[in-house]
Amino acid sequence: MLLEMKGAAVNYGRVTAIRDISISVSDGSVVTIIGGNGAGKTTTLRAMSGLVRLSAGEIHFNGERIDDLPADRIVAKGMAHVPEGRRIFPDLTVEENLRTGAFLRRDKAAVNADLDKVFSRFPRLKERRVQSARTMSGGEQQMLAIGRALMSDPKILLMDEPSMGLAPVIVEEIALIIEELSTQGMTVVLVEQNAELALELADYAYVLETGNMALEGPAKELHDNEHVRAAYLGI
């Protein structure tokens, strides 16, 4: 397993956000975590990347225990997190945003090569490379956030609601990008409210309900599951 969360719990003060959550992500797979608002999806992702601390449980990444490391050290291990709401740096230019993603990398030539790769993956970012990021549309900002995460040359990509607030055409584009990344061998953990999209992209899926693990299984099976269909797919 590339990433393994075992019996994880997170509390905010007295409120328990998630409890006893176990998630396994094998190398090269796309795993999705679906669920309603406040189910604990974002908290789970934030715990993986070290933005919130566990009150119980363990997280192992690439054979190492990481749940006691600060976020900036976990990035160095090869985990990239595309946060909810994109969180690009509004007053940095597009190129500066991307290069910030490569902050920990010292090999200039490799960074420049990856910058070119991101620009060829997202031609619109190249057109806007000297523009400040705040001037871009929501879809472009999402692409920038993904590009920035890729610039760290990660082993795994955590994505929090990449489709949020975007027009259906753009959502389709983002889905294609995730598919493409996956065929190129990237391991992806995808948190989505758009369960239809998530189950279509993922190999394996977890369903969170009010901080508890409700269901898990291969994405195709969950797609046909009565409960999932009624609660999340509106069928």
Partner: protein, 289 residues
């Protein structure tokens, strides 16, 4: 009349220079750490006392004194980060209160060590550039102007051309998203604190031979710097520089043609006016203010 105007412009350029050095450091610290450093004027004061301690009493070259002052005050900044602002990271109000306490400690240490009276600083240079017999620029003032331009340019290049510069700006805009890029908040806080404090210290070193050096000299500077930071837009470095120049010109002209008290009042009124017309300051944006 032309002579007086030209002379006042030169004086304003000089005040703009040291005020902007102090204000930019204040903005940098606030931007990266979210803390209003009330002790910033006292860092300026410590810089001036480095000159008193080393230049007035020993035969150390002034340039070396300036370098020592810069590093010494920068290290005080690191000490503040480690002992106060890091433990109080999630508590900006606590950081502000701690910085007020630190201000008092620095003032008391300066009073104990050097006395409360004005300290003697021998002139570094007596040379004066005479444009005409009425328009004169003392060389020391020119040093202050050139140093300010030099340091601010260096800071600008650092912030826009280097990976640590991007990291600092990224962390100022969104510390959590910066951490997700592998940028350590502790590291950026240390850099911001060192640079911010060092700039205030070097401003104190440069102006020491020109102004009255005493333990309470930080007050007037910090008030000017706060006005400038608010007018320029909290969190905006370019705003702080532009507002420093604007403030220095208004203040110097009003002082020359009316008097100093009216100049202080005018400065504060202008700040109120800017806050009414554009509450985020001239260069501020809503998400940073």
């Amino acid at each position: 009349m032309f002579d007086l105007l030209a002379q006042t412009v030169l004086n304003a350029c000089y005040s703009a220079s040291y005020i902007s050095l102090v204000a930019v450091g204040l903005v940098l610290i606030f931007g990266v750490m979210g803390i209003v450093n009330f002790a910033h004027g006292e860092l300026f004061m410590v810089g001036a006392y480095v000159v008193v301690a080393l230049y007035s009493n020993y035969d150390i070259p002034y340039v070396l004194v300036a370098a020592i002052g810069l590093v010494f005050v920068g290290c005080i900044g690191l000490l503040m980060e480690r002992t106060m602002f890091r433990p109080l990271r999630d508590n900006p109000l606590g950081g502000l209160v701690a910085s007020i306490g630190f201000l008092m400690i620095l003032q008391a240490l300066a009073s104990i060590t050097f006395g409360v009276r004005m300290a003697f600083v021998p002139p570094v240079t007596q040379d004066v550039i005479e444009f005409t017999d009425k328009i004169r620029l003392p060389l020391q003032r020119l040093y202050v102007i050139l140093a300010a331009v030099g340091f601010l340019t260096a800071l600008w290049l650092f912030l826009t051309r280097t990976r640590f510069g991007w990291a600092l700006r990224a962390s100022a805009q969104d510390p959590e998203a910066a951490a997700l890029q592998g940028i350590s908040i502790t590291q950026t806080a240390k850099i911001a604190m060192f640079i911010g404090a060092a700039l205030a210290g070097v401003a104190g070193v440069l102006t020491a031979p020109l102004i009255s050096v005493n333990p309470h000299m930080g007050h007037s500077v910090i008030i000017a710097a706060f006005i400038v930071v608010i007018v320029g837009g909290v969190g905006s470095l370019e705003g702080a520089v532009v507002a420093s120049i604007a403030y220095a010109f208004v203040h110097t002209f009003v002082t020359t043609f009316f008097d100093g008290v009216i100049a202080d009042i005018t400065g504060l009124l202008l700040m109120l006016l800017v806050l009414i017309v554009k509450p985020t300051g001239l260069f501020g944006t809503a998400d940073r203010a």
